[in-house]
């Protein structure tokens, strides 16, 4: 059932009700999970979709008994990646946005929280995390480290770090669910971005309705079927104000994909919805019980005789030595076997399929990442 928002509408109140009804129907799935009142952590960036999510939550809580959204919401805003003044302004606007609905929000600094050993949260509704944060150790400043990486890796690592922080905050507040405000466009871009950096098998958790990588806490995306147009109309009709824009670094694969998707959508309007439907049908090949330490995804068990990893490692080997060295001859049996690629394997894909997945392994090679992320030696 697709809502076509008529360009000319007769009565404003009817339109508002229509959109609200529609958006609620789309959220039905998430509501069905809420059989009893549960604590939910809601992550806001201040962008358009966060703004709409906030409003929907407020409306849900104010409904009559049988339709009421049965959650105890906690709100979270992560900051500390952009310029200090910009971060401060965004944070103040989000706090004000939440207080308009009588909600309290935690504003957490990414660098400070990620590197601290415990999960203690700052005071609610305060921007002290931004104002008081000084860089004592530049090596430990996530913002600086992200700047050192290539833009593509930076975008990817930022997402993984944020996810990690969401889970930690949720467990501190004893929330079993986390809501994030991704919409069809963001999810289509995320699917293609994951595909091009080698995370094709992680699509089910990264782009699907629920992210089940943690045993106790699920990350849900209640707005995954809502389009940009619907967001735009909702904001206009309800006279809401979004306070920030999504931040994807320029000159990265992700920004190229974002431009590509919006251009293609103009000529082929079904593009984004088709991509999202495809995301719903993809899972990964047989899973290894071991997990990547960085993104917590399961490793893939490769059943094919030859894979892209082997091809890449072999290319590196073959470009760095003479033909006579390609094959080892075993001294005892005089049998030729392919060159032991172990050296190149560890230099091109450190810890692969052992402690890190393919993409995290490639990210790990970039300077700076090893400073903040230690591979735990015990499996």
């Amino acid at each position: 059932m697709v809502l076509k928002i008529a360009p000319i509408l007769k009565k404003k109140p009817t339109r508002k009700l229509m959109i609200q009804k529609k958006l609620w129907k789309k959220n039905q799935r998430s509501l069905e999970i809420m059989l009893e009142t549960k604590k939910v952590l809601i992550c806001l960036t201040g962008g358009k979709s966060s703004t709409v999510l906030l409003d929907l939550i407020f409306n849900g809580l104010s409904q009559d008994n049988h339709k009421k959204l049965r959650i105890i919401p906690f709100f979270l805003h992560l900051t500390g990646i952009e310029q200090k003044e910009h971060d401060l302004k965004t944070a103040e606007l989000i706090i004000r946005q939440c207080q308009h609905y009588n909600f309290n929000i935690y504003v957490v600094n990414i660098s400070k929280f990620y590197l601290q050993n415990n999960n203690t949260l700052p005071e609610q509704n305060s921007t002290t995390e931004i104002i008081n944060w000084t860089v004592s150790d530049p090596e430990a400043n996530i913002k600086e480290i992200l700047k050192k990486l290539t833009p593509t890796t930076s975008n990817d690592v930022e997402k993984r770090i944020k996810r990690d922080i969401f889970i930690r905050v949720a467990s501190e507040l004893q929330c079993k669910y986390i809501f994030t405000a991704e919409t069809t466009t963001t999810l289509a871009i995320n699917l293609l971005s994951n595909l091009v950096i080698g995370r094709g098998s992680q699509v089910e958790n990264d782009v699907g309705f629920s992210d089940n990588r943690h045993e106790n806490i699920k990350i849900l995306r209640p707005m995954k079927d809502i389009t940009e147009e619907e967001l735009h109309h909702y904001i206009k009709v309800n006279k809401l104000n979004s306070v920030s824009t999504d931040h994807i670094r320029k000159n990265s694969l992700q920004s190229t994909i974002k431009t590509f998707v919006s251009d293609l959508q103009e000529n082929f309007p079904a593009t984004i919805s088709t991509v999202c439907k495809t995301a719903d049908k993809i899972s990964s090949t047989e899973n290894n019980p071991k997990r990547c330490q960085m993104c917590k995804s399961y490793f893939n068990m490769m059943t094919e005789k030859m894979t892209a990893i082997q091809a890449t490692i072999f290319s590196r080997t073959v470009s760095n030595c003479q033909p006579s060295e390609y094959y080892n001859v075993d001294q005892n049996t005089n049998v030729k076997s392919p060159l032991d690629h172990h050296h190149h394997k560890t230099s091109m894909f450190p810890y692969i399929d052992n402690k890190l997945c393919y993409s995290c392994s490639k990210n790990y090679l970039e300077r700076g990442l090893q400073d903040i992320f230690e591979i735990k030696s015990n499996p």
Partner: protein, 313 residues
């Protein structure tokens, strides 16, 4: 300042490999490229000793390099294969008639027997006639469907064990992107397989699966191979062009993205609850089909009855 060849042969580097970024001299590059194809063939167990293999030849760079490399490796490593060339004439004036001359040149240079099949003989229509009927937007569907069947028929006539096509890494990455954009789940599952085929069909293999298009061009250029380099006159309108443009833009930012996309495709699978089409045979022509009547028969019927849109989306 001249950079020494990374492979340690002592000569100065002449080029930079797009795949790994290493600087190599010409001979080491040839050696590396050929050995990689050999690695792919042996690791993925594409051929068996004594097999006859039809190399799908279009006269373009991919099939010319494929024919050249297979011949070289067959001799160097003694695969024991019986190689031959198979070419399809779609009847596109100004494109296919010229490239067929190149294929004939390949036949003479590599001393391989050549068989040419044409759409006119097989189906009674040339691509020019088809485009006149249906316009320029969906013609790649016709050409692709007809060509696959034509290759199968040709291979059956030649009595070969398998068909080797010149699909390179860029082609496969584009196909993965295109299938995601179009929501084609069934194809998404199969497109990264190095060897495709099923019961009752002649398998098709892609020995150049992990070779970058740029490297194939470099190989052909430095080896001074003769190939036909114009693209199909109908190509600009194809949907694949969008995926190709995206891939080219991304390759500039991160050249390894091509291998990353192939890896993603290899590790993706379809969820169990998704219903995929099952394979059976066409009731009309007895070729492999997922529907009761195969796509080629449907398209042909549409053309013959004057309903060209029959079978198109």
């Amino acid at each position: 300042m001249p950079i020494p060849c990374k492979a340690g042969c002592g000569k100065n580097a002449m080029l930079k490999r797009p795949k790994t970024g290493d600087a190599l001299c010409k001979d080491c590059f040839f050696c590396a490229f050929e050995t990689e194809v050999h690695f792919t063939i042996t690791k993925a167990e594409l051929f068996n000793r004594g097999d006859s293999v039809a190399v799908a030849a279009s006269g373009g760079k991919d099939s010319t390099v494929l024919a050249h490399v297979l011949k070289t490796l067959n001799e160097r490593y003694n695969y024991g294969l019986n190689l031959m060339l198979l070419s399809i004439d779609e009847g596109i004036t100004g494109y296919r008639d010229d490239s067929l001359e190149t294929v004939k040149r390949n036949r003479d240079d590599y001393e391989m027997p050549l068989k040419i099949l044409s759409y006119k003989d097989l189906y009674g229509w040339t691509m020019d006639e088809i485009v006149a009927q249906i316009g320029r937007k969906n013609n790649c569907t016709f050409c692709g469907v007809f060509r696959r069947q034509a290759l199968d028929r040709g291979a059956a006539l030649l009595g070969v064990k398998c068909i080797a096509t010149g699909h390179n890494a860029d082609d496969i990455a584009e196909t993965v992107l295109m299938n995601v954009l179009r929501g084609d789940i069934a194809r998404l599952k199969r497109c990264t397989a190095i060897s495709t085929g099923s019961e009752g069909t002649i398998p098709r293999v892609k020995p150049l699966k992990y070779a970058y298009e740029k490297e194939i061009v470099m190989y052909a250029h430095y080896k001074k191979l003769v190939y036909f380099s114009t693209e199909c006159v109908f190509a600009p309108n194809a949907y694949r062009g969008h995926a190709r443009a995206l891939l080219k833009d991304m390759e500039k930012i991160r050249p390894s993205c091509i291998m990353d996309i192939i890896y993603s495709g290899e590790t993706m699978a379809v969820k169990d609850e998704v219903i995929l089409p099952t394979q059976r045979t066409c009731t009309r022509c007895n070729f492999v089909s997922s529907q009761e009547v195969c796509k080629a028969c449907v398209l042909l019927e549409g053309l013959n009855k004057g309903l060209p849109k029959l079978g198109i989306g």
